[in-house]
Every structure is written in structure tokens, then in C-alpha cells.
């Protein structure tokens, strides 16, 4: 998967780049609109991660440019400007998703994967790790071929884990992923603990294995067997 990160803040761009590289993406970064235009025309990217506020213009212009040039990369807007009209305009212009700064890198990963899935880019329908298979289209989770009976929230959680396998998911990032922006004001990570506990119990009952590791103080990690 080839991703272009367009972000004027160097450190933020570096954060995304090193995270995505570890995830196995081919990642390039650029810090201005003009440069981004050149790159988009010259190379083919599967997805563009786009900051709206750039030194030489608004990121929305780039979306228009891409639509004119019939460049069919996925577009994920990432902006601190969480004004509703910006979000709506971006999506109207043809962006695939919108992520508000500050975001969790694991959330970025989940959104990217969702875009790829929707665009059917790598042909993957279901995601498999170890003997766990999660199919977002049918909302079905299988463990060792047997269906797992999960609540919608638990399913979301498992999908998030599987997408971000071998990564530490902080409780906050899980909470925000499950409950969206609302968690800003709720911020009670006990709920995350409860959900993870239930999910672990169900996986354990079905397969006798516990893939989810508690990372002391920080959160949880879904371990892929080597």
C-alpha cells in the first residue's frame, strides 16, 4: 500500500510516517500543496492523507484538483479544523473520511484500512490474524472456523485489535474508536476495561487462547503469533 502524507507540521508528518512504515505501508511525506500536486500527478498512491491548513493553500483545493485529474486515490482528511462545514465540504468534494486532530495513530490506521476495504484495493474482504477472522462486511467473526457471538461494540473492538495487531492500543484510543467524539466528555476508561474483559472471555471460551495482552498502565495489545 502506498500512502502520501500531506502535512505541514514536520513532527506530525514524521509521527505518521514512522507509524505507517512500521505497519508496512510505503509512505511518502510532503509539506506543501504544490509539492503534493507534483507527486500526485507523477506517482500513483493508494491513499492520500491530507491536512487542510497548508502554508500555500487549503487542502480542499487538492481534492478538487484530484477530481479534475481523475486521480482515484483514497482521500483521508486530517485536520484540526473540526468545523462542521469543513468536514461536510471535504466529504462532498469526494474525500473518503475525516479525522480530527489530535488523533491516535492506531485510529488513523483503522480509518486507512477502512478506506482500502471500501475501495477494495487489496482485495481483502476479511482480515485474519492467527486463527481469528473478522469480516467487516458481514459483521462476522470466526475463531478457528467457528462463529463468535459478539455484541456490535465487541465486534468493533475486535476489528480494531486485529487491524492494529502487535500494537499498543491505549484505553483512550479504544474509547474514542468505540464511542467517537462523544468520549471527549465521558472519558471513563472503565468501560473499555469491561469491553476488553468480555471480549477476552469470549475468545478464551471459543479457542482456549488469550491473544490480548494487558500492557501495564497503557492499554492492550493483540499479539499475532509468529
Amino acid at each position: 500500500m502506498k500512502v502520501l502524507v500531506i502535512e505541514d507540521n514536520l513532527e506530525l508528518a514524521r509521527n505518521m510516517e514512522s507509524f505507517l512504515r512500521r505497519e508496512g505501508y510505503v509512505c511518502e511525506t510532503t509539506h506543501a500543496l504544490n509539492e503534493a500536486r507534483d507527486k500526485i500527478v507523477s506517482f500513483k498512491y493508494d491513499c492520500v492523507i491530507l491536512d487542510l491548513m497548508l502554508p500555500d493553500g487549503n487542502g480542499l483545493e487538492l481534492i478538487e484538483f484530484m477530481k479534475e485529474q481523475r486521480i482515484e486515490s483514497g482521500i483521508l482528511i486530517v485536520s484540526a479544523k473540526n468545523a462542521l462545514d469543513d468536514r461536510v465540504r471535504g466529504l462532498d468534494l469526494g474525500a473518503d473520511d475525516y479525522l480530527t486532530k489530535p488523533f491516535h495513530l492506531t485510529e488513523l490506521n483503522a480509518r486507512l484500512r477502512a478506506i482500502f476495504r471500501r475501495r477494495n484495493l487489496n482485495g481483502e474482504r476479511a482480515i485474519s490474524v492467527n486463527d481469528v477472522t473478522v469480516n467487516p462486511d458481514t459483521m462476522e467473526a470466526l475463531i478457528a472456523g467457528k462463529p463468535l457471538d459478539l455484541t456490535p461494540k465487541e465486534f468493533e473492538l475486535l476489528l480494531y485489535f486485529v487491524i492494529n495487531k502487535n500494537r499498543v492500543l491505549t484505553r483512550q484510543s479504544i474509547a474514542e474508536h468505540l464511542w467517537g467524539d462523544y468520549i471527549d466528555h465521558l472519558a471513563n476508561v472503565d468501560f473499555v476495561y469491561q469491553h476488553v474483559k468480555n471480549l477476552r472471555k469470549k475468545i478464551d471460551q471459543a479457542s482456549g487462547r488469550d491473544y490480548i495482552e494487558t500492557v501495564y498502565g497503557l492499554g492492550y495489545k493483540f499479539n499475532a503469533l509468529k
Binding site: 507540521n9 513532527e11 506530525l12 509521527n15 505518521m16 514512522s18 507509524f19 512500521r22 484540526a80 479544523k81 473540526n82 468545523a83 462542521l84 486532530k101 489530535p102 488523533f103 491516535h104 495513530l105 492506531t106 455484541t151 461494540k153 500494537r167 499498543v168 491505549t170 483512550q172 484510543s173 464511542w179 462523544y182 471527549d184 466528555h185 465521558l186 472519558a187 471513563n188 476508561v189 472503565d190 468501560f191 469491561q194 469491553h195 500492557v215 501495564y216 498502565g217 497503557l218
Partner: protein
């Protein structure tokens, strides 16, 4: 009291004084003039009588009321003409009236005659009566004309002032564009308008600067926070000893809290600065039910009993984004500040939403609950902006929100404007 009423009253008061003094002057002048004319008349009588004595008319013929002729000592000098007033019986009216009496003596043919005559004159009372009568009529006329004309004129003169008032009433420091003041030729109103124009322009500029500052401050804060958070997340994935993991966690938690605060503050500033229009009615029943669904698992996990009484098809004109924010904050507030195995009661009627929850008593006065960073109790993880946001939303949409505590029930009710 209206300014024109005040003007009119003062004006009438002054007129009254002038009329009183004027009446007095008129009285004096009239009296003087009458007396002068009368004494001239009397003098001509006396002179006439003296001439007739000189011509040989017998005294008996001349000595007829009101003329009296006396013969006095001839050696005495002539008495000059003098006039004095007296009260005497009026012949026809048969009552005492003021009379003017004149006397003078004449040396005629060696004899010395003292001639006197009197005549009735206009009484002071009569003059006063006449003056009073005229004054009252003048006052009545003045009252009528001044009142009517002042009403008509004031409307004309004060029109620019009324327009200025209207412009001020419609002025909103948040709205772009300066105040539109009508032009006028009146000096005072011109001054007023120019002051107002300067003042409102200044207020708007200050407001804009403040708004931009708080927006930028909370917004710019979010980018470095996102960097720190990303770095910490990357750091957490490296091999860490327990001690390091603890430090990372603590730093991460603090950054989380800070970024939540930044987002909430940005939201609050936006709520204050932006105009949120309610274009069409939303189905509040649907919104409340959706929100209860979203929070169902959280409520369940905390072992909270939920009871609800939601009226069907409550439709209100309300901005949908604000409605979502409002409901989220109210409900998450009720969950967060609840006790283990507590209860939440949601009641929706038209146009009122009441959310009650059990919880420990707040440690401050209820009216302080809506202040920023003011927490009812130090519930962990709470940043103390939820109810401030609720209040802000209610303020800009004209809804009324109130909070009461009645052991162990916290009640928040929102009355929507219809």
C-alpha cells in the same frame, strides 16, 4: 416621563410665572392710566367751574353734586390741584365704591373759592377680575396648543433619535458589519451618532481580536499536543521497562486530558462565536432515543437503572449539531456523576427535557454548577466543562436550563423555547 412631557411642563410653568407677573404689570398700568385720565377729567371740571364763576354764574347753580364750592379765607395762597382717592357711597348703585376726588382753589374777583369734585372710577377688583379672566383663557389656549404641537413636533424632532435607538437595539457585537445609523441635521444627535459609531466599531474590533485569540490559542495548542501524543504512542511500542512504561502512561494521560480540554474549549469558543441556525424542526424524541441507545452499554456496565418517559413526536426547531452536543453532555454527565448501581430517569415532554440521576451531593452551591472548571465533586477524569457547554448551548438557543439537588437526585431540566 417622556422628554417632551418634561419640556412642556417646564415651559408651561415658566409661562404661568410670566403670566402672573404680566398680570400684575397690566393691573398697575391699567390702574395708572385710568387714574390719569380721570384726574385730567376732574381737572377740566374744576377749571370749567372756576371759569363759570368768573363769568358770573351764580354759585347755587354750580354747587351741584359732584361739585362742591366753598369760599375760604382770601388771604390764604391758592391751593394747587391735587387728587386723592376715597371710598364714597355711589348714588345709583347704593354701595360703597372707590371714587377719585380732586380739589383746587382759585382767586376769582377778590374771592377765594375752594372747588372740589369727585367721580367714581373703575375698581381694582374689576381690573383684577378682567385680567384673571383673560389670563385663564390664555393659559387654556396655551395648554391646548403647546400640548398638541409638542406632540406633533416631538415626533418629528426625535425621529432620528428613535432611529438611533432602533439601530442600537439591533446591534450585535458578534455580527459582522458596523452599526447603521441614520443621518440627521440635529447637532446633538449627530454627536450621539458619531460617539455610537466609534464605540461600536471599537467594541467589535476588541471582540474580534479576543475571539481570534481564544480560537487560535486553543486551536494552535492542539497540533503540538497531537505531536506529543503520537511520540508517546510510538515510544510505548518500543521495549520498555516497567518504570518507563509508568512514566509514559502518566505523560500520556496528562496529554489526553489536555487535548480533551483544548477540544472542549475550542468548542465553547465556537459556540460563543458562531451563529447556529435552526432551519427546520428536528425530532427530539428520535434524538433522545438514539442517544440512549448509544449510551446503553455504558449505562448497563455501570449497573445503572434507566427509566424513561419519552413523549412521542416532540418536534422542535433546534440545530441538530447542538442538539446532539446537548444530549451527549447531559447524558454522559448523568452517567459519570452517578453512583454504582444508581439510577437515571429521562423525561421528555413538549418542550421540556428532564434528566435526573442519583449521585453524591455536590460540594458547592447549585448555581455555580454551570461555571467553567467548576466540578460538583472531584470525579476523576472529569474536566469540568460539560455543564458549561450545556449552559452555552441553552444560552444561544434561548432554552432555559436549571439544576437542583434533592438527596440523592440531581435534576437537570432544559426548557426549550418554542
Amino acid at each position: 416621563m417622556k422628554i417632551i412631557t418634561r419640556f412642556t411642563l417646564y415651559y408651561l410653568g415658566v409661562t404661568l410665572i410670566v403670566l402672573l407677573v404680566g398680570g400684575f404689570i397690566v393691573y398697575n398700568n391699567v390702574q395708572e392710566e385710568v387714574d390719569k385720565e380721570e384726574s385730567l377729567e376732574l381737572k377740566s371740571w374744576l377749571d370749567n367751574t372756576a371759569r363759570r364763576i368768573r363769568n358770573g354764574t351764580p354759585l347755587e347753580k354750580l354747587n351741584v353734586d359732584p361739585v362742591q364750592i366753598k369760599i375760604i379765607d382770601a388771604s390764604q395762597p391758592e391751593i394747587p390741584f391735587s387728587v386723592y382717592d376715597t371710598i364714597a357711597m355711589h348714588r345709583h348703585l347704593q354701595r360703597m365704591e372707590r371714587h377719585l376726588k380732586a380739589k383746587a382753589s382759585y382767586h376769582i374777583n377778590g374771592q377765594h373759592y375752594l372747588i372740589s369734585a369727585y367721580d367714581v372710577v373703575v375698581e381694582p377688583d374689576d381690573i383684577v377680575d378682567a385680567i384673571t379672566k383673560s389670563a385663564v383663557r390664555i393659559i387654556a389656549l396655551l395648554l391646548l396648543f403647546v400640548t398638541v404641537s409638542s406632540m406633533l413636533i416631538s415626533r418629528r424632532i426625535l425621529l432620528p433619535f428613535q432611529n438611533t435607538l432602533k439601530a442600537i437595539r439591533n446591534f450585535n457585537v458578534r455580527r459582522e458589519g458596523g452599526i447603521q445609523l441614520p443621518s440627521t441635521n440635529t447637532h446633538e444627535f449627530k454627536q450621539l451618532n458619531s460617539f455610537l459609531a466609534d464605540m461600536t466599531a471599537k467594541a467589535q474590533a476588541d471582540y474580534k481580536a479576543l475571539k481570534e485569540f481564544s480560537e487560535n490559542a486553543s486551536h494552535e495548542m492542539l497540533t503540538p499536543l497531537a505531536i506529543i501524543r503520537g511520540k508517546l504512542e510510538l515510544l510505548a511500542e518500543t521495549d520498555n521497562k516497567d518504570e518507563q512504561a509508568r512514566l509514559i502512561t502518566a505523560a500520556h494521560d496528562a496529554v489526553e486530558k489536555l487535548s480533551r480540554m483544548g477540544q472542549s474549549l475550542t468548542l465553547l469558543t465556537k459556540l460563543t462565536n458562531q451563529e447556529f441556525e435552526a432551519t427546520e424542526p428536528i425530532n427530539l424524541t428520535q434524538s433522545v432515543e438514539d442517544m440512549l441507545g448509544t449510551f446503553a452499554d455504558l449505562i448497563e456496565m455501570k449497573g445503572i437503572r434507566l427509566s424513561s418517559n419519552i413523549a412521542k413526536d416532540v418536534k422542535l426547531k433546534f440545530n441538530p449539531v447542538l442538539a446532539d452536543l446537548l444530549l451527549t453532555n447531559l447524558l454522559s454527565n448523568a452517567i459519570r456523576h452517578n453512583t454504582e448501581h444508581g439510577a437515571i430517569d429521562v423525561k421528555l415532554s413538549n418542550p421540556k427535557l428532564v434528566i435526573r440521576n442519583t449521585g453524591p451531593a455536590p460540594d458547592g452551591p447549585p448555581e455555580q454548577m454551570f461555571k467553567r472548571f467548576r466540578k460538583g465533586n472531584q470525579s476523576k477524569d472529569s474536566i469540568g466543562l460539560g455543564l458549561a457547554i450545556v449552559k452555552q448551548i441553552c444560552d444561544i438557543t434561548g432554552a432555559k436550563v436549571s439544576y437542583t439537588f434533592d438527596e440523592p437526585w440531581h435534576t437537570l431540566s432544559v426548557e426549550f423555547s418554542t
